[in-house]
């Protein structure tokens, strides 16, 4: 399968990797948290295919305790969208970057302005988990006008009849939410994780990545038996909260990479 010519950098990169036989790995790191820049570079060096950079928001409703704690700590030390975004072009990763944040931070400055800021800041894609498909049209258009890919989330509760439209609207990849719940590691992979990925794969040939609830390399492998890959967030951020630093993050990502490569 060759990439359609009009796709953005995130999707092109992930398609190429997938079509070369790789399982995809995306790592999330909370921007602004102490040591986040080194952690991003280290995650990329350890084999992440793309990095999600969180812009901390005051009311992260899709996040569990780990990412909430990192976000709050980052806000308390003065992190702002500008402070996080201005650092990204200086990072040496060699892979595409997505931001993950909440819609009010795009709404407040205005869609055009926020999208333009992302485009100027070495960001390829955006994930706004509180902006569902029905409300997303104006933002997606503004983003797309400056080449920002908006990654949409498909949930276990999303009905079949809405999936084709949702996958069509999603750019970069399709984010299959692995379980009913907020971000955070779980002891076992939820049954919903493979179900939702399978349902997405049936209606799109875009990369489908499963995220939310992935807590071990074994779970990542299991989820990737259906999905094209996984997103790991809380597991990574917990390393930072526990004081593992960039090195701890690199080791963790390397472990996931090795497991996915071994199949």
């Amino acid at each position: 399968m060759s990439s359609p010519s009009n796709v953005g950098r995130m999707e092109r990169h992930l398609r190429d990797r997938r079509d070369n036989g790789a399982k995809l790995l995306v790592a999330y790191i909370t921007g602004g948290y102490d040591g986040w820049e080194a952690a991003v570079e280290s995650a990329a060096a350890a084999g992440a295919d793309a990095i999600e950079i969180g812009i901390p928001f005051s009311d992260p409703v899709m996040d569990g305790p780990v990412i909430q704690e990192a976000s709050q700590a980052a806000l308390e030390t003065g992190a702002t969208p500008a402070s996080v975004l201005s650092s990204v072009p200086k990072l040496d990763t060699g892979v595409p970057h997505a931001v993950m944040t909440y819609y009010n931070l795009a709404h407040h400055p205005g869609h055009e302005r926020f999208a333009a800021t992302l485009a100027k800041s070495a960001i390829d894609a955006a994930i706004l988990p509180d902006l569902p498909l029905v409300e997303s049209g104006p933002w997606r258009e503004a983003a797309s006008n400056v080449g920002i890919e908006t990654i949409m989330l498909a949930a276990p509760t999303t009905p079949d009849h809405r999936l084709p439209e949702l996958c069509e609207a999603s750019k970069g990849f399709v984010y299959a939410v692995g379980l009913l719940g907020v971000t955070g590691e779980r002891a076992a992979l939820a049954a919903t994780a493979t179900e939702i990925a399978k349902r997405c794969k049936e209606v799109t040939d875009k990369p489908v990545l499963t995220g939310v609830g992935i807590g071990s390399p074994e779970q990542a492998v299991e989820a990737s038996s259906v999905a094209d890959g996984v997103i790991i967030g809380s597991a990574v951020v917990r390393r930072l909260l526990d004081g593992g630093g960039a090195e701890g993050v690199g080791d963790l990502v390397a472990a996931y990479r090795a497991a996915l490569d071994a199949g």
Partner: protein, 389 residues
């Protein structure tokens, strides 16, 4: 009609909508559908009104304040939502939503609460209808409204203190939403005000419409005319929406009173949080700010979208009063009329007292949304037993 149904995207003018994670979209759609159906089902509506009457104590009386009216030079009428079962207007909405949850086959309620009145009402409805109930309450509010925490527990609900963010109502809403994202298949989120994603603002207002309908009739009966001013306090805005809805097509001036430390409409900056676009207190980049009010029930940086709309079109006005003015109004009503109001409701009175010189000779209908028993402990700290003015 001014207070009409929202459009099909759930918007009142530019405000409202459905800004929740994709996971919750089907639940919001199901709820909208179920509510439309139920509200068109005479049996459902009858059961709702029957419970409000036989269990809740409706209709609530209209009380004329003779002493205070004379002091202020304003004819002051109180709509006595404080006399409802559980002590506030919150029971209207909760009975409606609990009946709806049962109709949808959901066996568990989650709720957020600030002052604890909505939590108590939710716990009450859950006991009545044999449902499980979990209430999220900010840690700060758990302390200042300890009595209500115990009431909820007595009623069989589980209360979880929320320690994230500002540890008040805003964060309790976040935590209730997180719970709902994980439990949506068997749980109904019993939201306590005219806020949140569509259909909540519209549905909650509809369940509180009874306040305005009764008051309209009671005013006509008492005075053969409608009041010049209708005033209510505004946190999310449910008691205000309820009473406004009975008068929005009259000539009455509609006044929603916000706390100075939580004046979402007053600042007039639109934002998106908790599922809706509305006026929202936020900093220069869009982080939601923490409200700061003496009253836990109004300690909220946002406001229901229909109020943002009523303000934008100039139909209602939203002044703010200070904690100090509220403390004085709280004591004033207690002394002159023998009614201890909730601190929330005292905001509405504080505005009347301040504006009295410009309201001379007018009739003012004030929605007394709740009683002040829950606040007595806190006021003892504020005033000190020897310091009552």
């Amino acid at each position: 009609m001014v207070m009409t149904d929202p459009n099909k995207e759930g918007r009142f003018g530019d405000f409202g909508g459905r800004f929740v994670p994709e996971t919750l979209i089907p639940a919001c759609e199901e709820l909208e559908e179920a509510f439309r159906e139920a509200w068109n089902d005479a049996e459902f509506v009858e059961e709702f009104h029957r419970i409000l009457r036989d269990y809740g104590g409706r209709p609530s009386p209209l009380t004329e304040c003779y002493r205070l009216s004379e002091d202020l030079g304003v004819r002051l009428l109180l709509k006595r939502e404080d006399l409802n079962h559980t002590g506030s207007h919150k029971i209207n909405n909760v009975i409606g939503q609990a009946l709806l949850a049962r109709r949808m086959g959901k066996s568990r309620l989650v709720a957020e609460t600030g002052a604890g009145q909505h939590g108590v009402a939710s716990a009450t409805a859950a006991a009545l209808l044999d449902m499980e109930c979990k209430v999220y309450m900010g840690e700060v509010d758990v302390k200042r409204q300890a009595l209500n925490v115990f009431r909820m527990q007595l009623l069989g609900a589980e209360v979880e203190a929320v320690s994230s963010g500002s540890k008040t109502l805003k964060d309790a809403v976040n935590e209730a939403l997180r719970d709902w994202v994980a439990t949506v298949e068997h749980t109904h989120y019993c939201l306590g005000s005219v806020m949140g994603p569509h259909p909540y603002p519209w549905m909650v207002r509809t369940f509180h419409h009874v306040i305005g309908d009764e008051a309209h009739e009671q005013c006509l009966k008492l005075m053969n005319q409608l009041p010049d001013v209708v005033v209510a306090c505004v946190g999310g805005g449910s008691n205000a929406a309820g009473i406004f809805s009975g008068f929005s097509d009259s000539d009455a001036r509609l006044v929603g009173v916000e706390p100075a430390g939580g004046a979402a409409v007053g600042r007039g900056v639109p934002g998106v949080v908790h599922g809706m676009t509305s006026y929202l207190m936020q900093d220069e980049v869009g982080q939601v700010q923490e409200a700061e009010s003496i009253s836990a029930g109004l300690d909220y940086p946002g406001v229901g979208p229909e109020h943002a709309h009523l303000s934008a079109i100039g139909r209602a006005e939203y002044p703010a009063v200070t904690d100090q003015e509220v403390v004085e109004a709280f004591q004033l009503l207690s002394r002159t009329e023998g009614i201890i109001p909730a601190l929330e409701s005292a905001h509405a009175l504080a505005w009347v007292v301040r504006e009295a010189p410009s309201l001379q000779g007018q009739t003012v209908l004030l929605n007394l949304s709740g009683r002040g028993d829950k606040d007595v402990d806190q006021m003892m700290d504020v005033l000190g037993p020897g310091n009552i003015q």
